[in-house]
Each structure stands twice: as C-alpha cells, then as structure tokens.
Amino acid sequence: MQATEVLPDHHRTCDDIFVDAEKSAMAGRWQECAQTYGHFRREIAAHFSTEEQVLFPAFEAASGSSMGPTQMMRLEHAQMNTLMHMLDTTIAACDRDGFAGAAETLLIMMQQHNMKEENILYPMCDRALAGRSLPLREELANRAAPCPT
C-alpha cells in the first residue's frame, strides 16, 4: 500500500461536496448551500492539516528539504483559504454572482493543485516514504469530524 493512497479519493470527496454547494447557491437555496459548504470546509481543512502536519513533515524529513514542492503546496493551501473566506462572505450575503466568481476561481485553483499533488508530489512522497505507513485515513476522519455540541 502506498503512503498517500487515501488522499486522491479524498480530493474527489471534497470536489463532490463543493459542486453540491455550488449547485445549491446557483439555485438560490442558501440554507442548503451554507450547510453543504460548511461540510466542505471541514473536509478541506482536514485535508490541508493532514498534509501539512503529517505527510509533508514526513516527506521533508526523508528528503532533507522543506523549501521544495511542499512549500509551494502550503502556499497554495493559503491561497485557497483566502478564496474560501470570500465564499463565506458571499453565502452570508446570499450573493449569487459573487459566489459564482469566487467558486469558479477556487475550483480551478483546487483542481490544478490536486493534479500537481496527484501526478507529481504524491508519487514522490510514496517513493521517499516507501515501506512506511502513515495514519492518513484516520487523521482525515478525525480532523473532519464535526465538533461535538
């Protein structure tokens, strides 16, 4: 089993939830959108933090460099977070056009980022971490779990 095996599937999960939120927004169903988008936010935050706190440090330790691809991926996570903050605002304001523009931008950013990870970074991580098992599935599940109320 490859170290990063669960991550591409989790990308798809996040994509699916995101397009559901976009569909609700385009139909003007803002309450449903807010709910679905909240779910997306939890999943993507879990994904980013699992990568930044578990996968990337392990890869950086193995490769001896923290200034290479992982640095760029962290930067892109931050860029996507900025777009997600903008989406929060448009949902709160029920602003369809604002949502559509920010969603389109985020979608391209996210897909481009995912493809770079899946085609280049994850295979590099799998080679560097060959034989090691990281608890990525568990980390994703724990970090995405809604806070107990």
Binding site: V19, S63, S65, I108
Partner: protein, 440 residues
C-alpha cells in the same frame, strides 16, 4: 537546487505559472489575426470558397493557423508545461520576447506573400518562422523531456512540439519550392504539411491539454487511460503513413489514411462529449459551451470525411475543402482557443494579483475580471460566424457577412481579454484589502 536523493527532481517545476506577461502576450495577440482573416474573407468574397489553392484562401488559412492558433497555442504551452507537466522552461520571459514578435511578423509576411504570390516574401516568412520555432521547440521540448512527470499529457505535449517542428520544416521546404528553388511535388507536400500542422501539432496539443483541463473545468471522469495512451500514437502512425506519399505516386488506399486522421479527431470529440455528459459539475459556463461547439464541429468533420469517401463526387467538389476547413479550423480549433482563453486569462489575472496581495489579500475573482455576460455574447457571435461560413459552402455570398461577423467576434474576444488585463493593472495599482480573519 532541490535535493535529488528522495525522488525530488532538480528539473521539476512546482511553480504555478511563468511570469504573467509570457502567456498573456501571445493570448492577447491571437484574436487580432482572426480579425484580419475575417476581413480578408469578406473582402475576397467567393474566391476563398471556390478553391483552397486561391491566394485569398491560402492567406486566410495561414492568418488563422500560423497567426491566430500558433500565437494562442504557444502561449498555452508556456503556461501548461510548468503547471500540467512540471516542466521547467528555461528563461520563459526571454524566449517569449524573441519568439512572439518573430511569429507576428512571420505570419503577416506569409499572408502578404500568398496575396502577392511573391516568392521572396514567402522565403522571408520561412526565414522568420524557422528560427522562432527552433527556439520554441528546443526550449519547451527540453523542459518536457527533462520533467520527471509522466502520463498521457506529458507524452502528448512532447509529440505536439515535435509535430510543430515537422510542420514548419515542411513549410520552409514548400516556401522554397514556391520561390522556385526546387521541383519537388508541391501538392503532395502541401497535403503532408497541412496534416502535420492540423493533426500533429494542433490536434495533438488539444488532446494533451484536454486530458488535463476537461476533467478540471467540469469535474468529468478522466479520459480512459487506453484512449489517452493510444490516440496520440495512432495519430502519429496516421501522419507517418500519410507522409509516405512524398516518396512516390500516391497509393489507392491513401484516402483511407486521410479518413483515419479524421477518425482520431472524431473519436476524441465523441469521447469528450460523452465525458461532459457525465460531468459532476452541472454549471454551464461559456468555456463549456465553446468546448461543446468545438467538439460538435470536429465530429461533423469526421462524419463529413466519411461521407466524402463513400461518395467521391462529394469529396472531389472543390467546396469540400472549404466545408472541412471551416469545421476544423474556425469551428473546432478557434472555438477551443476562444473558450480556453476565457479561463486562462482571468485565472492568471487573479493568480498574479493574489501573489502581489499576499496571503489573505482580497483580489477580484475571475468573473470580476471578465464578466460571464461579455463572454456569452461573444460566444453567440462566434458561432453565428461559424454557421455563416459553413452556409457559404452552399451560398457563397454568405462568406461576406460570415467574414465580417468572424472579424467582429474575434475583435470582441480581443477586447474582452484586453479588458481583463486592464482590470488587472487597475487593481494592481490600488492596493489590497484583507479578509477579516487574516487581516492585518
């Protein structure tokens, strides 16, 4: 340099994009060749429809393929090679600064050479294209060869760059022939040159880019691995066999090879339409509609080619070349480039502003850079132009309004893209607010 001991390749680019001006200069230039081609069509009237060998038809075709498409596709290469293939293009700003003006002048001189049938101008155009393409192919080809990334997109982009080199090499030999330097078979060579340009370069590049962007824009399933692996190999096989006609009298089965080339385009178009039917993202935006229109045109071109082979009278009608040319170039490739430009330019405006603003900086999103309404209105006009140009096959007078509308639609695209770049400049000069939770 990045360490190499854990699979981190020294030639790997993880940057998101080359400097903004590099792809932008090509993409902002491309539509104006469409304006020139449309106006020339309207001015020349029926003669462009009557035969592909008329001076007007040759000039219009080359304004579109060596002007419009070459500009846009070169800009796309500079963008996609680092982003999609992890390739490190050596000094992209310098390379673009050399190649871009050479391409502009070369395409204009080439069209002037056809219009005036002046062999010296054709030779001059060849002399400008050859070094520019040599530089582009060497630098981008090296980036694609050195990248550690693997997969269908990388392989197909490599083949496309090779296809461009073959196209231009044949073009140079043709220009020399038309200038009277040799007596090689010019018609066969023209057919081979056109096939490598439209198939080996344009279609190949579109295949490689589609594997990346079609699933990305609409969240479709990926292209089947077998198709992605074999389509480009089949296309190269078809082109190599097609090229054999240069070595002697064309064999009887050559038309089947011609049809096989269209079949690759038809299979790609049919598959793309089918994948888009299964898209997870149901939002319909102008780029999606441009893609659908382009795929429909390529598929109709394939069906038409089949019918022309079944009924040779159809294929031998001089207007057949016009019909196929409009479907493939204006309806297929120009539509694709148009649609892609509507994603690439606004996204790059956002991306580079975002970098300037820093993390947490609020910058206008893609639709604030270029409104969807402006894109949709231009899209309608573009497809009206394609329909009029197709109608000109049967009613040659339609070429005049068709040419005018095509020119206006191209100018509108150019204006829309310039508008996005202008907004980038305005926002860049204003400074940036910051999102509340990350604000300073």
């Amino acid at each position: 340099m990045i360490r190499n001991d854990a699979g981190v390749h020294p030639n790997l680019s993880f940057d998101q994009a080359p400097p903004f001006g590099v792809p932008l200069r090509f993409l902002l230039t491309a539509p104006w060749f469409g304006v020139a081609a449309g106006l020339l069509l309207a001015w020349s009237g029926k003669s462009a429809v009557a035969t592909r060998w008329s001076a007007d038809a040759l000039a219009v075709t080359h304004l579109l393929v060596a002007g419009y498409l070459l500009q846009a596709m070169s800009g796309a290469l500079f963008q996609f090679v680092p982003v999609a293939a992890g390739g490190n293009v050596w000094r992209p700003r310098l390379v673009a600064a050399i190649v871009h003006p050479l391409f502009i002048v070369a395409a204009i001189v080439l069209a002037a050479g056809f219009l005036s049938f002046d062999g010296r101008l054709l030779r001059l155009a060849a002399g400008l294209f050859a070094p520019a393409v040599l530089i582009l192919v060497s630098i981008v080809g090296m980036a694609l060869l050195c990248t550690p990334a693997r997969g269908a997109t990388v392989m197909t982009l490599r083949l496309a760059v090779g296809g461009l080199a073959v196209t231009v090499a044949l073009g140079v030999v043709l220009a020399e022939g038309l200038a009277g330097s040799h007596g090689w078979p010019l018609i066969a060579m023209t057919n081979v040159h056109a096939a490598w340009g439209l198939g080996g370069w344009a279609l190949m590049l579109v295949l490689g880019v589609s594997y990346f962007v079609v699933p990305m824009f609409q969240l479709t399933p990926p292209y089947p691995a077998s198709f992605a692996r074999w389509a480009s190999i089949a296309l190269v096989g078809v082109l190599v066999v097609w090229t054999l006609q240069l070595s002697g009298a064309p064999p009887d089965w050559l038309p089947l090879v011609w049809l096989a080339g269209f079949a690759v385009a038809g299979a790609y178009a049919g598959l793309t339409l089918s994948l888009q039917q299964r898209r997870r993202r149901r939002v319909t935006d102008p780029t999606f509609l441009f893609f659908r229109g382009a795929m429909a045109c390529l598929f109709v071109a394939f069906v038409s080619a089949g019918l022309m082979l079944l009924w040779p009278d159809l294929g031998q009608d001089p207007r057949a070349a016009w019909w196929l040319g409009v479907l493939v170039i204006a309806g297929g490739f120009v539509s694709l480039v148009n649609g892609m430009a509507y994603k690439i330019v606004p996204f790059l405006c956002w991306l580079h502003l975002q970098r300037l603003a820093g993390i947490g900086g609020i910058v206008p999103n893609m639709r604030e850079m270029l409104t969807e309404r402006a894109q949709k209105n231009q899209l309608r006009l573009h497809f009206v132009a394609v329909a009029l140009l197709l109608a000109a096959t049967f009613y040659p007078k339609a070429v005049v309004p068709g040419g005018v509308v095509f020119a206006v639609a191209s100018a509108w695209l150019g204006w829309n893209l310039i508008g996005a770049a202008r907004r980038y400049r305005v926002f860049k000069g204003r400074g940036f607010a910051r999102v509340a939770s990350q604000g300073s």
